[in-house]
């Protein structure tokens, strides 16, 4: 690691003020940031530890949902009985990610802001527009098995690694932030992430010093919730493809559906196309497949990751079948 100044945050305001310098970073759980600092992919000169701040509570919101403090650990969130009963898809998604040890440290805010696991982002001897703007994208013509198939650009095909965020996308979560000047704002989770375009190093809409305070879950949508993750080993691996579904069945028809994919884009990929295809559709594998096809109409593979397109469709089919009780 490069040398840095370590600061324990005294208050929200002082933390945000400290972190407005371009080479400063907030640190909470540290499970992603410290890994990247050891490899000098991240080289902050100033770390602002938000551990002393509150932000570790899960509270009922006025609208009947939950407000999750940014420092709530993944474990605490997954184990919270309110989440388990009302938002089981979120519990499942969190528990599908990483390991128990990492979930005990990783936080809600940090999880959303985790950086890609693209092998070429991690190998500092290789071109990577995200790590070194303008150097090129080694993944495009390389071993891109884990990379994205939708929503990305010719400058970067990195996939977002979060499971938690996929469930949050399906739940219409909102991110509440505060900036150094005290201004707060609420960002729909889908709008938190910037498409890579030709600036893949800028990953979110957050400004320097802007801190995620909390994530708000609206009241739980009706229907069955399910998170399904497919990976290269049975546990402790990033998704090849994952899917969060919330689906309501009425007789043999789908009345309402929400679909979000993980592992296929730069962000948790909410699919309006799949949802539109599902509403009113018969509860059959054939219509689930059609929804998957709709979701992936604009997807394209880059060689080694071509399989993600059929796999995403099939995983959606499996999840919807399980959630609706189709044998």
């Amino acid at each position: 690691m490069k040398p840095f100044r370590y600061e324990r945050a005294g208050s929200l305001a002082s933390a945000c003020a400290s972190a407005t310098e371009p080479t400063a970073k907030f640190i909470a759980g540290g499970t992603n940031l410290l890994d990247l600092m050891k490899l000098q992919i991240e080289t902050p000169t100033h770390l602002v530890d938000i551990g002393p701040l509150p932000l570790a509570e899960i509270e009922e919101s006025a609208e009947g949902g939950l407000r999750i403090g940014a420092r709530v650990t993944n474990s605490a969130l997954a184990a919270d009985m309110r989440v388990r009963r009302r938002y089981p898809v979120l519990s499942q998604a969190i528990l599908a990610g990483a390991s128990a040890q990492l979930r005990n440290k990783a936080t809600t805010g940090g999880n959303l802001l985790q950086r890609t696991r693209c092998s070429y982002f991690y190998d500092t001897t290789k071109p990577c527009n995200k790590r070194m703007p303008g150097s090129g994208c080694a993944a495009l013509g390389g071993l891109n098995r884990m990379n994205a198939v939708i929503g990305v650009s010719s400058d970067c095909i990195a996939a977002h690694g979060s499971d938690m965020a996929v469930a949050m996308a399906a739940l219409d979560a909102r991110v509440e932030t505060v900036a150094a000047d005290g201004v707060t704002r609420t960002i729909p989770i889908d709008a938190l992430y910037r498409p890579p375009g030709n600036t893949p190093h800028i990953e979110t809409v957050l400004a320097p010093g802007e801190l995620i305070q909390s994530v708000v879950l609206p009241p739980p949508p009706p229907g069955q919730q399910l998170y399904r993750k497919v990976r290269d080993r049975a546990s402790f691996a990033f998704a090849l493809v994952s899917v969060a579904v919330v689906v309501t069945r009425e007789d043999d028809r789908v009345r309402a559906a929400r679909v979000a994919f993980g592992g296929i884009s730069y962000k948790p990929w909410r699919s309006a196309e799949a949802e539109a295809a599902l509403i009113g559709a018969t509860v059959t594998r054939a219509s689930f497949d059609a929804a998957g096809r709709a979701a992936l109409r604009d997807a394209r593979g880059y060689g080694y990751n071509d399989f993600k397109i059929p796999l995403a469709r099939r995983t959606l089919r499996a999840a919807l079948a399980d959630a609706t009780g189709v044998i």
Binding site: M1, R117, Y122, G142, V230, D232, L240, F307, L311, R314
Partner: protein, 705 residues
């Protein structure tokens, strides 16, 4: 059970004698010597190119960074013996110099070394070293190198690269039933949990390295050769080793650089490779392309039996993975042909990884046997039984003991093989397709040289010393049992000391020869001591040599693997629900640790079938997977229920105790049983390992229709 006198402790399932030290964290591994300021810290700077020359290294900034004691490059490294010699009979005793030239031989090649007061300072300074290289074009792709690959003459175990019996081509051409298939296996990494690490200290002309190594005398010789100093001036200490699996047979630049650093800064220096560095700076298992051609008569008897293997080694090396070794012993067939071809690429060194050759050779061969059974319409167990042989089919010697057929029969009964439905995709459990698979296991046995010392202390305790290692296999424990039985002492009166070149020399741990070799030496020492006790003898040495194995016989362990795989119909995920391994592995020296070796090997089999693979990016000549998040090894959730059964057998013409190697037999064939179970579950014939979900989708799409 560890208390008190036991009449015949050999074979009993005693708890491992070093268990208590390991579960309390008191077992000390190489990097754990000289903490709390006792040593300076070293960090290696790797090259960013795969082939070329170091033009200039700018060390200014690094040298002036806080805490830095030394920045070593090609410009100021001391003279050393060049790498090699490549043809040294003991390849693990080659010179392993560091920073001795400007040549970059593979990606991640060491190009600078930083020593600083603290680990953090050394790391930060290492990143400040600026290395300018001239890159040269290299050859990195195994497949495209195939047509120009060479005949290596010999494979790494010394056997000829090619073997031929009868007229294979004619027999294959006319075989009434035959299959021909190309199998590929990927690059794999041993990935021991403890990274390669060394703490080096000089006292005058005497160098001591605490290093993580499977061998002792080889690195001692190799370091002496590297520095051109007498072997007696090098002491290698390796008491506890955090896994080896072949990767710690060679020693590496961590030992060389720690020693150089310690010499220059005049105090102990320690360094551990970083986990990403391991993927290039140490060895790996080569990828392979294997062409299997099997021909049989309609009764299921093999008439033509051919395996061609293409493997990789580093440009400057000669290691040839003995892929076809197992095939040469496993089944009878009058017409046989096995060949190895070697592609020298500008990649890091390939070398041994658990069951070199056999692990991947059987992965292909035993899947091909399943294909042949299919083509014949035979039960796969039955096909194997029909081709069993009591004679080593290529060297015309009887097997000293071979119980493959019993393993297959007993295993089939115990596993419930009779419930298998031959037609693929016949059994379902919800959305999971269920299948059963079988494969044979074989692993040749060898004996190496070793000497042990046994000493009766004044208090009546026995001390046994030998420069052997325990890499987790249970060596401390089995040698305690052997010595206790030989001296008729309770096991708790015996202390076994290993991992120090001050003790009598051994061949170390590797190739499954460790237990038989070291226990034979201990037995010889104890017998000699016992015989001399009446004459007042209190210390004796005993030895074993390869000649103690009767080579008028062929020696090998055998077994049979059975696997039940579940494949998800939508996603192609595979779960191994249960496995059974039945082994005829000679006399078992400790039933508990032996079983552990087998479940370990079987789990590696699951890994090789489903999970493990590294990729070369041919544009850069580097491995893409450089950490344990992208190079997957099996985790706990990957392992279903594992059942192990040992047949009651001993090798009457083998080592004095009749034991055989068991560290590798468990992986041999295990992966093939899983792959064959996938075929039975789905009809998909996976020939490109591992069977990740993407490779099953096409078959599943067909099943949808």
């Amino acid at each position: 059970m560890a208390e008190g006198k036991l009449a015949d402790p050999i074979g009993l399932p005693l708890d491992r004698v070093d268990g208590q030290l390991k579960v309390t964290g008191r077992a000390t591994y190489a990097f754990e010597y000289a903490t709390q300021g006792g040593a300076a810290y070293g960090v290696i700077v790797p090259s960013a190119i795969a082939k070329g020359r170091v033009v200039a290294v700018d060390v200014q900034e690094a040298q002036h960074a806080p805490g830095v004691l030394l920045v070593l490059t090609k410009d100021n490294a001391p003279p050393q013996t060049p790498w090699g010699p490549v043809d040294l009979p003991d390849r693990f005793a080659r010179a392993e110099p560091a920073l001795d030239s400007d040549e970059v031989r593979y990606f991640g090649f060491p190009v600078a070394f930083v020593v600083a007061e603290t680990f953090e300072e050394a790391n930060a300074a290492a990143a400040l070293v600026s290395v300018r290289c001239d890159s040269l074009p290299g050859q990195y792709d195994l497949h495209s190198a195939g047509p120009t690959a060479e005949d290596p003459g010999h494979i790494s175990d010394g056997a000829p690269a090619n073997s031929s019996v009868g007229d294979f081509e004619a027999a294959f051409a006319t075989a009434p039933v035959k299959i021909e298939a190309l199998y590929t296996t990927p690059y794999q990494n041993q990935a021991p949990m403890e990274p390669h690490a060394t703490m080096a200290v000089w006292e005058g002309q005497m160098l001591t390295v605490h290093t993580s190594a499977q061998l002792t005398t080889s690195p001692q010789e190799g370091l002496a050769r590297t520095f051109n100093i007498p072997k007696e001036n090098v002491r290698v200490v390796t008491r506890y080793i955090g896994g080896g699996f072949g990767s710690k047979l060679p020693f590496y630049v961590d030992a060389t650089l720690a020693a150089i650093g310690a010499r220059i800064v005049g105090r102990p220096v320690k360094l551990a490779m970083t986990r990403p560095q391991l993927f290039h700076m140490t060895t790996h298992r080569t990828a392979s392309e294997q062409r299997l051609r099997l021909g049989a008569d309609r009764d299921g008897r093999l008439t033509a039996y051919g395996q061609d293997a293409l493997v990789q080694c580093a440009r400057f090396d000669n290691y040839t993975e003995p892929v076809c070794g197992a095939a040469r012993m496993l089944y009878a067939a009058p017409n046989r042909l096995t060949r190895h071809r070697l592609a020298k690429l500008d990649l890091p060194r390939s070398d041994s990884m658990r069951a070199p050759g056999d692990a991947i050779g059987l992965l292909a061969l035993e899947c091909a046997m399943d294909e042949l059974a299919d083509a014949l319409g035979f039960d796969p167990v039955d096909l194997r039984l029909r081709n069993d042989t009591e004679i080593d089919p290529e060297r015309d010697r009887p097997f000293a003991s071979r119980h493959l057929a019993e393993a297959l029969r007993l295993g089939a009964a115990r596993f419930g093989w009779d419930k298998r439905i031959a037609k693929p995709a016949s059994v379902r459990d919800g959305r999971w397709l269920i299948g059963l698979g079988v494969a044979s296991a074989v692993r040749a046995d060898v004996l190496r040289s070793a000497t042990a010392r046994a000493r009766l202390e004044r208090d009546g305790r026995l001390t046994v010393e030998l420069a052997m290692t325990d890499i987790g296999t249970g060596t401390y424990t089995i040698l305690t049992q052997v010595a206790a039985e030989a001296m008729e002492l309770p096991v708790d009166r015996v202390t076994v000391r290993l991992g120090d070149t001050r003790f009598p020399p051994t061949a170390g741990s590797g190739g499954s020869f460790g237990a038989a070799t070291s226990s034979s030496a201990v037995l010889a020492a104890c017998r000699k001591l016992n015989a001399g006790l009446a004459l007042g003898l209190t210390e004796a040495e005993g030895s074993v040599t390869p000649a103690d194995l009767d080579d008028t016989y062929a020696h090998a362990g055998f077994g049979a693997h059975f696997a039940e795989a579940a494949v998800h119909r939508d996603t192609g995920e595979v779960r191994v629900r249960r496995m059974l391994g039945v082994f005829a592995a000679g006399r078992i020296l400790n039933a508990k640790t032996a079983r552990s070796q087998m479940i370990g090997g079987m789990t590696w089999g699951i890994g090789s079938a489903l999970i493990e693979e590294n990729h070369v990016d041919p544009r850069y000549g580097s491995f893409v997977n450089q950490d344990l998040a992208s190079y997957h090894v099996a985790v706990n959730a990957d392992v279903g229920s594992l059942d192990v059964m040992f047949l009651d057998e001993a090798d009457p013409h083998g080592s004095p105790l009749g034991s055989k190697g068991i560290g590798e037999l468990g992986i041999c064939g295990a992966g093939a049983a899983v792959i064959n179970a996938i075929h039975n579950a789905t009809g998909a014939r996976i020939r490109d390992m591992p069977a990740t979900p993407d490779k099953l989708l096409a078959t599943l799409e067909t099943l949808d229709a």
